[in-house]
Amino acid sequence: MGFLIALGVLLLVSIIWMVYRIQTLVSVVKGSEKKVATGSNKVNAALFLLFLIGSGVLMFWYSIKEFDTYHLPIASEHGVVTDNLFWVTMAVTGIVFIITHILLFWFSYRYQYKEENTAAFYPDNNKLEILWTLVPAAVLTVLVVSGWKAWSDITAPAPENAHVIEVMGYQFAWEFRYPGKDKQLGNYDYRLINPTNSRGIDFTDKNALDDFPAQKVVIPVGEPVLFKIRSRDVLHSVFAPHMRLKMDAVPGMPTRFWFVPTKTTAQMRAELKDDEFVYEIACTEVCGGGHFSMRREIEVVEPEEYQKWFAEQKTFVEMDPALIADAPSEIKELAQIESAE
């Protein structure tokens, strides 16, 4: 409500002020020809300088003060690389940003109109032009090449021993599936989706028998993890900010992203002195009304703990034997053997 009042006051002030201006306008209409540049020219020139100093101070003050707030801790191996790239780029562009702005506003102040001055007739200088074509080109080449190396490492095929986890997006949540002991995800087909089989897993495929679901992603620290990403309805995008991980989920076109987590949730909690801390997964591709609520958690644990957790999980079939009711008999036998183990 206070905000509304503030808005009202603002409007009122501007109305009063406008009425005032109308009167001055009338006097202008009656007034004589203006000069080339009035006193306002000086004011505007000074304001540019003021803006430069004021906003510069504000930017540095805030950037330094709030660094820990906007800088998310990194929890993956490639995240260190991309963040390095980010800060290198920040340094380069930051320098350019500051220099060009100092020149822009300083020139505006320094070369404001003075009747006795004449502008320099300076239409071109090929040497300068070539210089400032080549220098940015060289700097950008360095940035591109380092970016390209990082990019090809990140998008390279996942290591053989990567832990595979299937991440499926739908309106409006994520579902996870682990491949079970055989490390092989069972096939799926979207036509098999029904209320009891929300992922459309094909349970006539024996690889699917030991697959198990999870409410959150549990992964071992220091070991490669491969997300196999798909979507059930519209586009989604898996985003794990601390892992510096993002990849779209596309219906009909599985995607993937692999990474190596470097810090367990417990380590991160200790580091940040925050007992509530969890790694999160969000959606970053607009997908409908619940786009903003597709939250899931990642828990990074020590490898031993991971093995233990992994062994404790119940498979789909164990949870709901009816899933294989229509499957051939040899599949049913296999399932029994597996659950007995």
Binding site: F3, S14, F107, Y111, W151, D233, P251, T255, G288
Partner: protein
Amino acid sequence: MAVANVSTHGASAHDHHDDHEHSDNFITKYIFSTDHKMIGKQFLVTGIVWALIGGFLSILFRLQLGFPDMDMTFLKPILGGWIDESGALDTNFYLALVTMHGTIMVFFVLTAGLSGTFSNYLIPLQIGARDMASGFMNMLSYWLFFIAGILMFISLFIETGPAGGGWVIYPPLSALEQAIPGSGLGMTLWLVAMVFFIASQLMGGINYISTVINLRTKGMSFSRLPLTIWSFFLTAIIGLLSFPVLFSAALLLVFDRSFGTSFYLSDIYIGGEALPNTGGSAVLFQHLFWFLGHPEVYIVLLPALGITSEVIATNSRKPIFGYKAMILSMLGITVLSFVVWAHHMFVSGMNPFLGSIFMFLTLIIAVPSAVKVFNYLTTLWRGNLIFTPAMLFSIGLVSFFISGGLTGIFLGNSAVDIQLHDTYFVVAHFHLVMGSASFFGLMAGIYHWFPKMFGRMMDAKLGYIHFWLTFVGVYMVFFPMHYIGIAGFPRRYYSWTNFNFADMYTDLNMFVSVAAIITFGAQFIFLFNFFYSMYKGRKASLNPWRSNTLEWTTPLEPGHGNWPGEIPTVYRWPYDYSKPGAKEDFIPQTVPLSSTPESNLPHEAEQVKLEREIMAEEGSDILVANESKES
């Protein structure tokens, strides 16, 4: 006070209708006008109306973001059912607001409102033509745009709401009504409106290109075109090549939506049923869309850069630095704009190898942009700067172009883009570099050419206040978004309280929202100034900014046909400001080199001989006419 010379040219009767000033009635003069100046004004006023609507929509969703717990019941009279019992905004309608804000601003305001206005208004005036190549097609272009606007406007009020899948309308979200209500009738209207819009743009573009190529006045070679015309010309070429592709993309989407084909749809289970579509590719649409979408950024930006070049040169009283380099860099941008589209899709699941290629191409496009910035700075250097409102907005544009352009280097780098893609960093980036920069170009253009359009001056002091509030306001709105984006906040989020990593910037978001409201409020100062000055402003002089280009040689309020007599001939480039030795600090393009021996450069002295010969053939009165006006 030097009055620009209206050169009366003897023998250059190469235009066909000397019978300007038809007897127009109200309808042919103000509504179905074929006069490029009136059509330009129509585009301008329509663009302003759309800017207000688009801006208002952004205020609505900024309220939601800045004050998530606010009771919005007071908005019920406007939004009706989109505000629920508890006073909260509907989440689907939030997305619709974001979508419509984007669509309106990108297409209706910064494409039609900016390039539609100034290409129409300035091309014939600055190249010395009576009108566009086809006045009828030009009129049609406006009215198709108008129809597109009406359809889009209607879609705001239908029961299921306007399109809500983002302005990029990625299928399957935009193809399936089950996915979001906006993908029903709202999306249909969006698509139909865009088809009209594309047709309008193509007609406009064809007209601009053929006018610039065919109807330049005598002496107006390409190396003497003002940079504004160069930018409009290249913009039209980009539009001609990219809008048809959007048409193709939209057509296939229409087939998918209405006829059940599977161009973009595959393996979808939604609303409790598996759809029959199989074999489609959602990424295909993104390729087609961004093939338009990225050039569209330059369609929006290039005219603003062109206007800025003109305004900065005029008000620095200096030639634009590196005229040829400016043209080359615009050409470079034009060509490169077609080969960088997939940098919007680094994490879309497309082949990572394509990603690397597009990263290289994308960062190359930063080079011509950098050249432009350095040239602007050098133009200001050792100038004699007059801060007209147009000049202020142009300097503001350069500042935004730098700030927003530099963040593009982050986003064009695919490895860095992984984290930043679809976060507020992107929002900050494009709002500065294409949104605000182009908007400032539009404003600079209005303040600069208002005296030509309406024969009156806008109030400068109101212009200053408008500029400073907007300039500071825009930075207050978009600069904090960089921090929010680095922290990883995804865009198009209704609220972020669900996430621990994002739930810490309530104060900053509130700040941004308040800044947005103030900035929006400041635009009413402009509106007042604009409409008030149109009728009550101080009468303008013929060449109030003491500028060189041809439009200032027309009468105060030029009729249909622009010049009452012959079209003036052009003898020099448009940037002879503060030429050493010259009497005044500007020499209009219509002044022959032979009449300014005191200021001619060595290579120009050689051209004088040539010029004299030609004039001797054409008739002897030219020189006299020009010289007598000059004194």
